[in-house]
Symmetry: C2
Subunit: 231 residues, 2 copies
């Protein structure tokens, strides 16, 4: 096997490309996108500045490419993670936990996605964005399933529900990353998720509000006091 060649039939160019992406990922996560210069990336990858431009159109393309692989991995793994999980609530919990676990495991990728990419003006036209949408799209299926099975509120609007879950994930991930991962992510998630899930449950009487035949009375009473209802 030739020197400098890694296993398989990987060309040198692919190897170099990977080295550049790794260097960029590391530096973007450490210092932020704006604060990282292309010279630094090139040095970290062991190249001259100009040689880098053989592999990437520019710094911004690098920003858009770096997390692409990660999100692709996530997308490929998602179905696998949810496979065999029964029930909409179990699926939802698994989905959320899995997402946060991945964020915890790859804070470098997560930082780039949550801190630098999401507010980039070209983000919406990105390949990554399409994949992120697919990731979030799975939530709609989960809510539809929960609605159909009666496990969740039959009047649940899947889009509204998705907005809440995505908003929660984004917010908690962003805070954790901004605060430099200084606390336990899952300690926070535990309570917040439990609370959010309440919103998706069927109403107490367990039938739809559209029947209009239910009245709720709130009564104050001492412990042990008997309450009779006369109709």
């Amino acid at each position: 096997m030739g020197k400098g060649r890694t296993a398989g039939n990987m060309k040198k160019s692919e190897n170099t490309r990977a080295r550049i992406i790794d260097a960029a990922r590391k530096l973007f996560a450490e210092k932020g996108y704006q604060q990282t210069t292309v010279i630094e990336i090139a040095q970290e990858a062991g190249l001259s500045e100009a040689a880098m431009y053989e592999y990437f159109k520019g710094k911004e393309e690098l920003l858009l490419t770096v997390p692409d692989m990660w999100v692709n991995e996530l997308l490929a793994e998602m179905e696998d993670q949810l496979f065999g999980v029964n029930g909409a609530f179990n699926k939802l919990k698994k989905y959320v936990w899995w997402t946060f676990r991945r964020i915890e495991q790859s804070p470098m990728n997560a930082k780039i996605v949550y801190l630098f990419l999401k507010t980039n003006r070209n983000f919406l036209e990105t390949e990554v964005y399409e994949n992120v949408k697919s990731l979030y799209g799975k939530l709609l299926e989960i809510f539809e399933e929960g609605r159909a099975s009666g496990e969740m509120n039959p009047d649940l609007d899947p889009y509204a529900a998705r907005a809440l879950v995505v908003g929660m994930i984004d917010h908690m991930a962003t805070r954790w990353l901004l605060e430099d991962m200084s606390y336990s992510l899952f300690d926070q998630v535990e309570g917040t998720y439990g609370l959010l899930a309440e919103a998706f449950r069927p109403p107490s009487g367990s039938h739809s509000a559209h029947t209009g035949s239910e009245i709720v009375l709130r009564v104050r009473a001492s412990p042990g006091q008997e309450i009779k209802i006369a109709d």
Copy 2:
């Protein structure tokens, strides 16, 4: 009154300062922070580039100052908006609606806060951040009130609840701004808020283990049917 002097005892420098801030706000919102050059800001304000540096240390200080006034206004207005509103849920709804109304009314300020400022590495050390924290802090009071009055779940964790509300506001505002305000913000908010509020309600059995003094009865009745309670 001297030419170029506006009403009151405003100095020329204050006038110029305000012109710079207005110019920066407009350009940041239109083109984004990175894409706006200081030359453009200076031209829009009718100054030379160098003169601008008599008023601001640099471009970043401008980014941090521009939305400061807006958030200050919000903070000053908040108590006023909630004054006289009874009940935790009414307060919460008012809070959320008021926030989105302000976002809708000042998309330029909102863009700067939600798209450019929040991911800035120095945001956490900002005056604005302190004020934003105060704005969100009010939510804690609301949840405490709801918990104490029995209107909300007595086991509600105010911090978890705040995370959900803030996450929802951030997410919906960011999306709306990124999509260039191309749809009705309030159409979206209506359903999502209604769903979220469900999470804060007391549990179905509805008596707190702690106070033990409130009981919720769910009764079926026909419209018009009279229900009497005998104790």
